[in-house]
């Protein structure tokens, strides 16, 4: 089940919200857990077992860490728990990739099982890891209620596409939370906003990006138009889902941290990663980068730390070498920014710095979106004018004319201005909010009823 489906929006979500609202407080986590298992089993009944294993394993680990007396036992328990979590993630997500690589490199014939990817495995594994590490570090007590812990791991609003919620951040809310009518209204507003980003903007931008990518010949400007459309598509797709997750969380009485902060306004790549998928960057910072020494080490070690963290970040996004390359691309950019161009960038006018960052990020999305290295090379070549079918062609002009309003509106939505203006306006005339969000919901519904193109880019994670 995906958020942007009629079944989810008009049957699942209202039923769950109603049950959660009218149920006695002590039943709420049970209801939320049952709903989350239903949500997951809808599309992945086979992998429900894997998620339940993760719940049971990490729940017992938390209690075991608390019961362990000797530090060496605690450390061994942690290492074992992390190893099993990573082994499960590795087998179900990376085994096929690893075997294909080894078979290809060394001519081996290792069996390739090609298992379908369990949806959300990267998200719930990272949440579970943050829990056991925090319990080990003594930053949070273990959860003694299995239902509460299972609710945390399986919670449907952020199960499929994040944000990655740290246990310590919602521990209190698991026990005590309330959602007033005003909060439910704000949450619903955020859900509709996210749905609109996904359905009205991302899906239509995706049609343009796909058309450009599958064109037999591309001019330089067509290639840039396609890359820009993809950059906008992935932002509205992913941030739309995050908005929906945050909104549903609010309707259930949770406060999830923001996952995006207008990333395309960043003035450097470093700043971009403080604004894009914030929960993932924060996870890698807290559990990998800082334990490796962070930037409080010599330059050589710092560069190595960045390479490790960004290689892992890349591979987290998918079991394919293009994601590894994408991660290393960002490592290289961050190293160059830190040691070479950081000061120069700081002196550039804000607009110029934003433009440079946007160009680098857009090129990064070309690496990200092409698992085939040949196709990636050809597309990157077209961006640079190598192998392109001229600088501009009729196809570019047609695509631009057909999509210029969509692209311009999408670009406007990347900044905070439009949303601020909407909040100011609807604050002054509350009835306008009702009209605006009802219109958006109707438009999304109409699109979902009639449109068939409804992909979700972050499903593979």
């Amino acid at each position: 089940m995906v958020f942007s489906s009629l079944h989810f929006l008009y049957i699942f979500l209202p039923l769950v919200m109603l049950a959660h609202l009218i149920a006695p407080r002590r039943w709420r986590n049970g209801i939320l857990l049952a709903a989350s298992l239903w949500f997951y089993a809808w599309g992945e009944p086979v992998y429900l077992g894997l998620m339940l294993f993760s719940v049971a394993w990490n729940y017992v680990t938390g209690l075991q860490l608390n019961a362990a007396v000797r530090p060496s036992r605690r450390r061994a328990t942690l290492v074992g728990a992390v190893a099993v979590n990573l082994a499960v993630l590795g087998f179900f997500k990376y085994y096929g990739f690893l075997v294909a690589t080894l078979n290809g490199l060394f001519g081996l014939r290792l069996p390739d099982y090609r298992l379908p990817l369990p949806i959300g495995i990267s998200f719930y594994t990272f949440q579970a890891l943050s829990y056991v590490i925090d319990v080990y570090r003594g930053q949070t007590p273990p959860q003694r209620s299995l239902v509460d812990f299972a609710t945390y791991i399986t919670m449907f609003p952020q199960l499929v596409a994040g944000p990655i919620v740290k246990y310590a951040d919602i521990r209190e809310q698991l026990h005590r939370r309330s959602a007033s009518l005003a909060q439910i209204g704000q949450g619903l507003e955020r859900v509709i906003l996210g749905l609109s980003k996904k359905v009205l903007l991302a899906n239509n931008l995706g049609l343009l990006a796909d058309a450009m990518r599958s064109a037999p010949k591309l001019s330089v400007l067509s290639a840039w138009l396609g890359a820009a459309a993809y950059a906008l598509q992935i932002y509205f797709d992913f941030s739309g889902y995050s908005d929906m997750a945050i909104g549903m969380g609010r309707m259930l009485g949770f406060t999830f941290a923001e996952n995006f902060d207008h990333p395309y306004r960043a003035r450097s790549v470093t700043e971009f990663w403080r604004r894009w998928h914030i929960s993932l960057s924060g996870w890698f910072r807290d559990y990998v980068y800082i334990p490796l020494g962070g930037n409080r080490v010599g330059p050589g070690r710092h560069i190595l730390n960045l390479l490790i963290v960004w290689l892992l970040t890349g591979l987290w996004h998918g079991a394919s070498w293009n994601f590894a390359l994408w991660g290393l691309y960002y490592a290289a950019l961050l190293i160059v920014e830190k040691y070479l161009t950081g000061r120069v960038l700081g002196k550039l006018p804000a607009g110029a710095a934003r433009f440079c960052t946007l160009l680098l990020v857009t090129v990064g999305w070309v690496i990200f979106s092409n698992t085939d290295f040949g196709a990636m090379g050809r597309y990157l070549g077209c961006l640079a004018g190598i192998g392109a079918d001229g600088f501009a062609d009729a196809a570019f002009l047609y695509a631009l004319r057909s999509n210029i309003l969509l692209m311009a509106f999408a670009a406007l939505c990347c900044g905070p201005g439009l949303r601020k203006w909407q909040i100011r306006l609807t604050g002054r005339w509350p009835a306008l909010a009702l009209v605006l969000f009802a219109a958006l919901l109707i438009a999304c519904t109409a699109y979902l009823v009639h449109g068939s193109y409804n992909p979700f880019l972050y499903f593979r994670f």
Partner: protein, 187 residues
């Protein structure tokens, strides 16, 4: 990636110091052993689960001619036409190039959405063809959504399976039987 400012976070549940005297009510080694036993049991269950999942998703490497024979005798397939490479390309908007073996059946009737396609190939080829199948389904749904109720239902109930080196796609009243015949070949 930047460091977080160093904050002195006081552990809310600090690990016991080495040599510290155990206070009354402190945990003992007994529950620790119990938890360890539960975890071993969980690992055994995980292993069994993984074997089951792998078994359900893997496929025997069979001669493609064997699959062709089995599918040709499946109920309803005789009413469809075996398509050549051009027919495949025309319907799927993709070429079967790169496949170790493939078959495709379709109907000549404009209102008949029945189709059967099986391909054997490497992962990249199957990925490409799976995308083509999704494209085909979307295109067919767009055509029949407004007026073909039965056709729409059949398309929405399309069977797409990926097992080992094989991709199976079927639309039709007998799609489940075709899937059973295919799975019987590769298990």
């Amino acid at each position: 990636m930047t460091d977080r400012p160093a904050t002195a976070r006081r552990p809310v549940h600090a690990a016991p110091r080495r040599g510290a005297r155990r206070a009354p009510g402190r945990p003992t080694a007994a529950p620790e052993r119990r938890y360890a036993l539960i975890k071993w049991a969980l690992l055994v269950a995980l292993l069994a689960y993984a074997v089951l999942v792998v078994g359900a998703n893997s496929a025997r490497d069979v001669d493609f001619a064997e699959i062709q024979r089995a599918m040709a005798t499946s109920p309803g397939v005789g009413n469809l036409n075996a398509l050549d490479e051009n027919g495949f390309q025309e319907r799927m908007d993709a070429s079967p190039e790169g496949c170790e073996g493939w078959l495709m059946y379709g109907s000549d009737e404009i209102m008949d959405v029945s189709e059967l396609m099986i391909a054997k190939g490497d992962e990249a080829t199957l990925d490409r063809l799976e995308d083509a199948v999704q494209g085909r389904l979307e295109a067919q749904l767009a055509v029949f959504r407004s007026y073909g109720v039965n056709q729409k239902d059949l398309l929405e109930g399309a069977t797409v399976l990926r097992r080992g080196d094989y991709l199976f796609y079927a639309v039709g009243e007998a799609a489940d039987q075709w899937a059973d015949a295919f799975l019987a070949c590769i298990r």
